[in-house]
Symmetry: C2
Subunit: 300 residues, 2 copies
């Protein structure tokens, strides 16, 4: 293992347990109002995944001089929004996927109506948590809610999903494709970073740098996703490969070719690293750098 | 027209224009990120309806000594959550309704994927508005977000919808039926009242009274809804009547009979009035009383 990979493994290990505990706490099994609903929410959120957005929230918080514990709530909140988007994205009326992280998708394991409600409630819970949980000043809570709602809604992720659907079967320009992915993936990744920074009370210029960092690695993430959809197998991905081609979706490999797509992802990653070079010395930006490398180097 | 009906008409007229303006402002047509998504959100939210929850937010704000303008944002936020729930409720996997307020439902007018995303984005927008818009103290914004997320999520409306679905085709006891409706309808009505009170900086005891008032009229509203589903026509309702029977849903008329159901709704309304008698003199509780009367007297 290289030094960076070793450091990243150690960072992930530090975050994993505390994140899992915070996530379990946010979705208590003994919740009485509608046990089946909570069960479906837990199925969708607790079933693993890379936890990339939580890791970015933790790494941003640490880079801003905060403790990991300060990022628990934003890490959970952004993951709940991500989980809700996957549940709804997998529905028959959307991507109609039956496999996610190697497991049946929520509407297969439960049913469609339950999956719709579980997605809805995961979103609500994210905002409820930010308003109620952890130890933050009112102003921090509101800033985090602003970052998350902006990243998730009609100016962010949901807009990207809409445009992604509208683009199916149509050949996109590179610019159009980048715009879709910037909205669909980049905005929520940026929200994760911003919330981590807000939780650490970071100044505005630090937040701006992290937002630009998020835009770069968000796009790199999506390019790598497209590459893996072409080059990998369902076994490795935990979901069917070749799904983009089946849905008639434009992809970076289709537009640029595989080699140029890899080059572009690497270039975005280098640019992201350079942004961090501008951050004041003494800040621990190692995990952010390692996560950027991981995004373009990952195999699933 | 009776005096109360006349007063209520005048209150509704006062609220209607300002509410419509605030709602339009919250869903700007020129929004660039995904025009079709915003179009579907506007279709779902701007297409009329009784606006009961906004009216309750305005009435609560006024009863707590606030100006109507202070309730604009919570009125819009609660209506956006209500609109999202209707869009998702109407989906084929849920109630599969094609008519709402006399118009094609969102997934008929657009398509299912767009309707799912529009519902999702209406919810996000509600929290985004409460965090950003209007002139409130940070603490008020957070209290409103807490009230809305509690009323909408896994402890409120969504839990009620889940239990409503689970109960289809099964005979419920009166207690079970009341519990479902308390969650499904009552919690969001209570959230509307609480947010109006918070916007007017009302003390905790006033908020408690309004929460109990909301529980009573929320249940009365649902009883009247069940009565109308049996006794009215699609023309009057703007949606198919007899829908409960078709979905094998337990209803108050089926459990209690029509007359006893009407009596129960009236009794809840009287109890709600009595609660307001305990509010300090000089407070304008007229609109709240009139809205309670309207709920049990309405024909659609």
């Amino acid at each position: 293992m290289t030094r960076a990979a070793d450091d990243l493994s150690s960072f992930i290990a530090q975050c994993r347990d505390r994140f899992q505990t915070a996530l379990e706490f946010a979705l208590p099994l003994e919740h009485g109002a509608a046990p089946r609903l909570m069960e479906a929410m837990r199925y969708a959120a607790l079933g693993g995944g890379k936890r990339l957005r939580p890791l970015l929230a933790y790494a941003a918080c640490q880079a801003c001089g905060g403790k990991l514990s300060q990022a628990d709530i934003p890490a959970v909140a952004v993951e709940l929004v991500h989980a809700y988007s996957l549940v709804h994205d997998d529905l028959p009326a959307m991507d109609d996927d039956s496999l996610r992280r190697g497991q049946p998708t929520c509407h297969i394991a439960f049913d469609e109506a339950t999956a719709i409600l579980a997605g809805d409630s995961l979103q609500t819970r994210a905002f409820e948590l930010l308003a109620n949980s952890g130890d933050y000043k009112d102003g921090q809570r509101l800033e985090m809610i602003r970052a998350l709602s902006h990243g998730a809604g009609v100016s962010g992720m949901a807009a990207g999903q809409m445009r992604d659907i509208e683009a199916e079967g149509r050949a996109l320009t590179l610019e159009e494709l980048e715009r879709i992915h910037y909205l669909k993936t980049g905005r929520l990744i940026t929200a994760a970073l911003l919330m981590g920074a807000i939780a650490a009370d970071a100044p505005a210029e630090m937040q701006d740098t992290l937002a630009r960092f998020g835009d770069l690695i968000g796009l790199a993430f999506q390019i790598q996703d497209d590459i893996l959809d072409v080059t990998s197998t369902a076994d490795v991905l935990g979901k069917p490969s070749g799904s983009d081609a089946r849905h008639g979706k434009s992809t970076f490999p289709a537009l640029l070719g595989l080699d140029a797509s890899r080059d572009r992802a690497q270039a975005l990653c280098r640019e992201a690293h350079q942004l961090l070079d501008g951050i004041a010395e003494g800040r621990n930006t190692g995990p952010l750098r390692d996560l950027a490398d991981y995004i373009v180097g990952r195999s699933h």
